[in-house]
């Protein structure tokens, strides 16, 4: 599962909530990419460095470069350990940094950055990070392969979630039942239809993943399935299914506006001699059957 999440690259959003925490999954992803030999930079804003490094073995801890925004985000202590220029500048500097080779950036949390930075600047920086070819510079620069961002869904409105979702190539939404955690992964390759998968997993203490069931590939779920599969063919007042005999009878029927030769003959040969229609009339009580013209009485 982690391989599929890391495969696409670009911006990976981990959307978690209060019930289903995402930091464990983030650390599992960091461990996986460390095993692949990538450099990892972590921008830590919500937890302290010791807490973040806890649980990683020393090999990973050596590959991990931690930029601390938790201790002194606004640089009040003026110790010089804080990031100069703010987090955005730090992210941009990573792009131009002296390291070579593939780079994974983990944002501990993207929610913190979204709450403290203007969202347009954040979106533009994330886009620039993920699409390195737009950065002017020499080709031997560091290549940012992916940006892992932890996003707490409850903190943001639908606008920001939608905006960040449209930038992301992979979105992992955590959820699950009481006993089991699940991850619903949405892959958005550019200009292709999005696909999704659901995995049930649990994270072990050394941040490796344990998958419970086989994932099943399906198309995107409909929120509520078309409830009434109403059969439009029921309760009709006319007959839709004709038997063979009825079909033949219908086909042989001559329609009233169709002018066939028999009808032409019948119309042509209807002379005054043939009384083809009769009118039967019974006089009403009030009818005056006097044939005289009532205007004759007028003396004009």
């Amino acid at each position: 599962m982690l391989d599929s999440v890391l495969a696409l690259g670009g911006l990976v959003l981990l959307r978690d909530s209060v019930e289903w925490e995402g930091r464990g999954l983030l650390k599992a992803l960091i461990k996986k990419s460390a095993h692949r030999g990538e450099q990892i930079h972590v921008l830590g804003c919500e937890v302290s460095e010791e807490e973040f490094r806890e649980g990683f073995d020393s090999g990973i801890n050596n590959r991990l470069v931690y930029h601390d925004l938790f201790q002194d985000p606004l640089n009040w202590l003026k110790t010089g350990a804080a990031l100069p220029g703010g987090p955005l500048e730090a992210l941009n500097a990573l792009c131009r940094g002296p390291d070579r080779g593939p780079l994974t950036i983990a944002l501990d949390s993207l929610s913190w950055l979204a709450l403290h930075l203007p969202c347009t600047a954040l979106c533009q920086t994330l886009h620039a990070l993920c699409h390195q070819n737009s950065c002017p510079g020499d080709s031997s620069q560091v290549k940012v392969v992916r940006v892992l961002g932890l996003l707490h869904e409850e903190l943001h409105g639908p606008g920001l979630l939608g905006a960040l979702g449209s930038l992301a190539q992979t979105q992992v939404t955590l959820g699950g039942t009481v006993v089991q955690a699940s991850a619903h992964i949405l892959f958005q390759k550019p200009r292709q239809r999005p696909t999704h998968q659901t995995y049930w997993f649990s994270i072990l203490s050394d941040f490796s993943l344990d998958l419970q069931e086989r994932p099943h590939l399906e198309s995107l779920p409909c929120p509520d399935s078309h409830t009434s599969s109403v059969d439009p063919m029921s309760h009709l007042t006319f007959n839709l299914r004709l038997s063979k005999k009825e079909k033949e009878a219908r086909d042989s029927l001559i329609l009233p506006f169709q002018f066939s030769s028999e009808k032409q003959q019948a119309l042509l040969h209807t002379g005054p001699g043939q009384a083809t229609s009769h009118i039967f009339y019974e006089p009403d009580v009030y009818d005056d059957l006097d044939q005289e013209d009532p205007d004759d009485d007028l003396d004009i």
Partner: protein, 483 residues
């Protein structure tokens, strides 16, 4: 702010202002401007620009959008000087395709392109344009795609025999026959193969300008609210410069051959342009986008250009902004894909990929607009072609509570004409009869007025609308215009 204040020489006024009728020694009127071309004199020449045609309805100059089906729905094409706004679908899968069709049409016709994007480099966008459909290799495939009639549907209709006279939705075929020599096609509207890329030689022969926002705007400046976003200002200046320098607004009268500028702006209003209307509901710079559209429209109206803009309106939180944006654009087309919605499992839509809504058509020099009555349009992206068709969905219609006043929603289910005994036919007839009584009773006047006021002409009568070569003929109204 940045509105072009260029001269008033409008579209197509290259000829003489005062036509000198006689010989020059009799009158003192002179022809204004040199006569271009070697044709003999005889009054002002009609300027015809490649890839345009006058509208059949009011003579407005039209360009093709790249999709002949969409051209037909918009009343012949996109008018020069107007904006076509495409509302993106949710995962942005299909709207880039319409964007690319527009640009590819410009390359085929030899128009100049201006591509602006904050997401991708314009050179990359141009590399991915679809290739135009070539001749006979594809003609049979094309026929199979478009003339998919089963044997059953070829039965002549007995009861609903008038519907056989209806022309089909698809326009006639315009295929470029040779691609080796420079394509100087005088036809309007071409078909493209979405699975192939445009040949390099066509791209190299074309003229284009690109605007890629991260390259142009290096720093994030703080602008005060109620003024234009920095990125938008730069883009407007860029467009204005191109229009002025290349003479699209008539400012260079020595230019012999007029051409159209096709502007394409991708994902306007997204956060990558520096606009936060997608992120929050009450944003500071909520007027940036509307101001931009207003100024852009002013630039377009005074030049020979047409613009396509795609906008992620599903992300815009404030619905009032969407309404304002719709009013500020001329033609608005919305795409709604079925991915992830409950319609994906609906068997009626199983062959289609989404709905296409024509939300607005402009009234240019007109009192009425050429809006089609058919509201249930779906699109489908086949491997090579993007097609737009009608679908009959009673549930959809009930959802939107649209019952057109006439019986002009002539609906054909895909792959079958109106065979009798089919479900569509029967339900259509029953609903036809039900509505006939309702409609007829509406028209009956129980007491004649003494004096007929107004023209008394009902615009739509109880008859099917007949489409002939893309132009509607209306059945005569039930009440004539009083003498």
């Amino acid at each position: 702010m940045a509105a072009a204040a260029t001269c008033g020489s409008g579209v197509g006024s290259s000829g003489s202002v005062a036509a000198a009728a006689g010989k020059s020694n009799i009158t003192s009127f002179q022809r204004k401007g040199a006569k271009a071309g070697g044709t003999e004199s005889g009054g002002p020449r009609l300027v015809s620009i490649a890839g345009t045609r006058p509208s059949l309805r009011n003579g407005q100059l039209l360009v093709s959008t790249g999709l002949p089906a969409l051209d037909q729905l918009l009343g012949g094409g996109l008018a020069v000087g107007t904006v076509l706004l495409i509302e993106e679908d949710k995962y942005n899968v299909y709207s880039p395709l319409l964007f690319k069709y527009f640009l590819a049409e410009g390359i085929i016709n030899g128009h100049t392109l201006l591509v602006a994007s904050a997401k991708e480099d314009p050179a990359d966008i141009l590399q991915e344009l679809p290739a135009p459909l070539l001749d006979d290799n594809y003609k049979k495939e094309f026929d199979e795609v478009y003339n998919h009639q089963t044997a059953e549907s070829k039965i002549k209709m007995k009861i609903a025999w008038r519907y056989q006279l209806l022309p089909k939705m698809e326009a006639s075929l315009h295929i470029i026959s040779k691609i080796s020599k420079p394509v100087s096609s005088s036809r309007f509207g071409h078909y493209y193969d979405a699975s192939k890329r445009i040949p390099q030689e066509l791209l190299e022969g074309s003229k284009w300008h690109g605007f890629f926002l991260p390259q142009k705007v290096s720093s994030t400046l703080k602008v005060e609210p109620c003024s234009l976003n920095h990125g938008y200002t730069k883009l407007l200046h860029f467009i204005q410069n191109i229009i002025y320098e290349e003479g699209f607004d008539g400012s260079n009268p020595q230019k012999k051959q007029k051409n159209i500028l096709r502007i394409g702006i991708q994902s306007l209003g997204s956060p990558l342009w520096g606009d936060d209307i997608c992120c929050t509901e009450n944003c500071d710079s909520s007027h940036s986008l509307t101001k931009f559209l207003y100024v852009l429209r002013g630039l377009l109206r005074t030049s020979l250009s047409a613009c396509i803009i795609t906008m992620p309106t599903h992300l815009i939180q404030n619905k009032a902004i969407i309404a304002r944006v719709t009013k500020l654009s001329d033609t608005v087309v919305g795409l709604e894909s079925f991915i992830g919605s409950e319609r994906e499992t609906n068997p009626l839509y199983k062959d289609y990929h989404g709905l296409i809504h024509i939300r607005q058509i402009p009234r240019l020099n007109n009192l009425i607009c050429d809006e089609s009555d058919v509201k249930d349009l779906v699109f489908k992206l086949k491997r090579k072609l993007f097609t737009i068709e009608w679908v009959q969905d009673n549930y959809l219609r009930q959802e939107r509570n649209i019952y057109p006043p006439g019986f002009s929603y002539l609906l054909k289910q895909k792959d079958s004409a109106w065979g009798e005994g089919s479900l569509q036919h029967s339900t259509f007839l029953m609903s036809f009869l039900a509505k006939a009584t309702a409609f007829a009773s509406r028209l009956v006047r129980h007491s004649e007025p003494l004096k007929q006021t107004g023209s008394g002409r009902i615009r739509q009568a109880a008859g099917p609308r007949l489409w002939q070569d893309g132009r509607r003929q209306e059945a005569p109204g039930l009440l004539g215009i009083p003498p």
